[in-house]
């Protein structure tokens, strides 16, 4: 099989979410360096391309106070990755950093720094954020409108790239000015790799113009194929070659020796991810009120939401929706499927098509199918247990993927190479050209 059809793995240590199990005796610290080191070294043993960290800007809140039910508390991404650079040698180190509450000069400096410290293994997962609630932790406060976030982000990324090129930057923007000349030489991979996860049409165009890899939400095979085609079309419009934008959907793996053991594990994982209190809290954010007396093992609440639009748990990724409509639809759906609250919430918060459940061989075969069709370039795996959540993947799945010829046998030197991206000198030019075109058009 050709190299192009190889799959690559990343691991996403989320730090804040409901998919990380904290109730088990096997659940380790979410913040100790030892947890990060163990997970990163396990991933490196399994030839993973990248180790991802999220970014915390404000602690999640639920109905007006700090959300208590999920793991929380994250060390700074780049500070942690710099330490991990000292205890790993090949795996890529990806920092999620937003374009709203960072300064381009500072962020460009720190990312270039991480790239040199790690010997050409750094990447930036670009995210946007806009709300004033997050801004309350920063000098600027809430200054960006929702509709401006991508134009702002693109302006920001362009400025960062110019800084990385090394020439003096004099940027006059709508929200900030930058006069700065970078001081850090290029790394072995020239500059950090760019990841992005936006999914709206605007977000996809942004990715097609700016990024090397998309951390997508499209895991199911057909969905992934459609997404690949869509991105290729968008990339072609800005002069980029087919499949030059790599795609790595986020995914969860629940695997075991046999199909029945995997099924058993699946139920254990789901039970431990979403407990009764979390199920109720999940509904509360859409109902807009406390649901104290509601039985998590009973049907969805008969009372109607008290808000017109849902007040989602702040800092989470959920989207708002019209509450009464949503409540009616959900009540019907749960009744239809015979689900109680906890079953319903478990099915909603962990979409079945984001999870690969099965025996090692079954999953290896499924992934071979993905590779054969070129649906994705790999997967960004969210482990449900810290720090041992990758052990079975590295010990049992990776060797089977290698046997099938769809997984690397060894590391190259830089992250860019490990992701199948090129490091030729034209790369920069190719990436920059469409930017000026986009600029003229706007």
């Amino acid at each position: 099989m050709s190299k192009q059809n190889q799959l690559r793995f990343g691991v996403f240590f989320q730090g804040v979410n409901s998919s990380t199990i904290w109730r088990s005796e096997a659940s380790g610290s979410q913040t100790d360096f030892a947890s990060f080191r163990q997970l990163a070294q396990t991933a490196e043993r399994g030839l993973f391309s990248a180790f991802f960290l999220g970014e915390g800007l404000r602690l999640r809140e639920h109905l007006g106070s700090v959300h208590e039910l999920d793991v929380a508390g994250r060390p700074d991404a780049q500070t942690m990755l710099a330490a991990l650079a000292a205890v790993t040698s090949k795996i890529g180190l990806v920092a999620t950093q937003n374009t709203t509450y960072n300064d381009p000069a500072d962020l460009a400096h720190r990312l270039a720094s991480l790239d040199l410290i790690s010997g050409g293994r750094a990447a930036w997962n670009i995210v946007t954020t806009h709300n004033a609630w997050t801004g309350a932790n920063f000098r600027r406060g809430g200054y960006l409108e929702h509709h401006e976030r991508y134009s702002h982000a693109e302006d920001f990324v362009r400025t960062v790239r110019q800084i990385w090129e090394g020439s003096p930057v004099h940027h006059r923007g709508r929200h900030y000015d930058v006069d700065y000349t970078g001081t850090i030489p290029a790394s072995a991979q020239l500059r950090p790799v760019l990841f992005q996860a936006g999914d709206s049409p605007e977000g996809r165009d942004f990715a097609a113009r700016q990024t090397d890899v998309i951390f997508s939400a499209h895991v199911g095979l057909e969905d992934a194929l459609e997404f690949r085609q869509d991105i290729n079309e968008r990339a072609a419009k800005v002069g980029r070659a087919e499949n030059s934008v790599k795609i790595m959907p986020g995914a969860e793996f629940i695997i075991a020796e046999t199909p029945s053991a995997a099924e058993e594990k699946y139920h254990w994982v789901r039970e431990n991810q979403i407990g009764p209190q979390q199920a109720i809290a999940y509904l509360e954010q859409f109902w807009g009120t406390r649901l104290d007396g509601v039985d998590p093992y009973g049907p969805l609440p008969q009372i109607d939401p008290v808000v017109e639009r849902s007040s989602v748990t702040r800092g989470s990724g959920f989207q708002g929706a019209k509450s009464l409509e949503l409540a009616n639809a959900w009540r019907a759906e749960a009744k239809d499927k015979g689900q109680n609250i906890i079953q319903f919430v478990r099915s909603r918060s962990h979409r079945a098509d984001h999870t690969f459940t099965g025996s090692y061989d079954q999953i290896a075969d499924r992934l071979a199918h993905y590779a054969g069709l070129g649906a994705v370039d790999g997967f960004n795996i969210t482990p449900w247990l810290i720090p041992t959540g990758l052990d079975d993947i590295v010990d049992h799945l990776v060797p089977r993927l290698q046997e099938r010829g769809i997984y690397p046998e060894a590391y190259a030197d830089t992250l860019r190479e490990n992701l199948g991206l090129s490091i030729d000198s034209n790369h920069e030019q190719q990436a920059i050209k469409p930017l000026s075109t986009a600029q003229e058009a706007s």
């Binding site: 109730r23 360096f33 208590e68 932790n137 407990g275």
Partner: protein, 343 residues
Amino acid sequence: MSERSLLLALNLDGAGNDPNESASYAQEAENAGFHAVSFSADGLLDAVQRASFSAPKTQKIALIPVIDALFTEPFHTATQLASLDIISQGRAGWILETQNEGVQAQAVGREILPDHELSTEVADVITTHRRLWDSWEENAVIRDVASGRYLDANKLHYADVQGKSFSVKGPAITPRPPQGQLPIITPAPLFTDEGLQHCRLNGADVVKLKSANLDELLDQAQIASRKGAVAIDLDIYLDTATETGAQRLAVQDVQRTVRAEFTGTAKQLTEFLARFAEATANPGDQRRHLVHLFPGDLRVDSQVLIEEVLPELKNSNQLAPVGNTLRESFGLPVAKNRFQEAS
């Protein structure tokens, strides 16, 4: 008593942008008995990251980055420093600088601050860090299966800082660092109006004195150390078998700084350090005081320090013991949590 009150830090910028070289100097400094190594920002890789890279490769030595307080985001720097403290298990500190220059300001699209606003701004920035670092009580992560709660929201607190030029809500995104509060080393000239007392009220732990004159530094240290821990910076050019420090200073294309310069033999430096220890000694006081050494040539000067100066200081019982945390090395008490005290 001047015994065992001296702390020594070695600046590692001379290792340049090679993190492995930097880490191996940190290891050598640790073995030689230095209390800390420092990383300043100018022109090099990010200081926090260089410190962090060295953390897993060392066990005892403190790692102190220099970070500007004016043109950075307090929420980010508080998170970065807390993270460095987590990674190093209590060995982080912060040398606070105010780079109030056009080039720093313009990089982030801001303007330099008028002098009279500097001390308020720095005080606000320090307060923000202090309150964010306390915003998680130590046992805020409860993992209580019965109630389904990972956190206890009652043990998390809004920082609610209302500074003159910015505000920060909190709580921190990172749990309370192992030291609770990282030692903050602040330059003294910021606080001349109301003196050093003012500085301490605003939460700095150590005051860094400023003079290009060695005797003047000692005089300042004698006065300031009565009120709390002090630090002085020295550029050093030490004599070797082949060349004197003064010759190196004269011959080399040396980048002169505003810091005091020391040239001479290992023995002379040892004597100067003993005078500093004597000047800062206060009966019955457990506080330690820091001399921060900036080698003219890291390779050359660190060799003299490690082979001659440190052994002599140990023999004469001048060096303070290296604590398990930087707070301990400074003789600072365990940091109480302001939110826990209030409740």
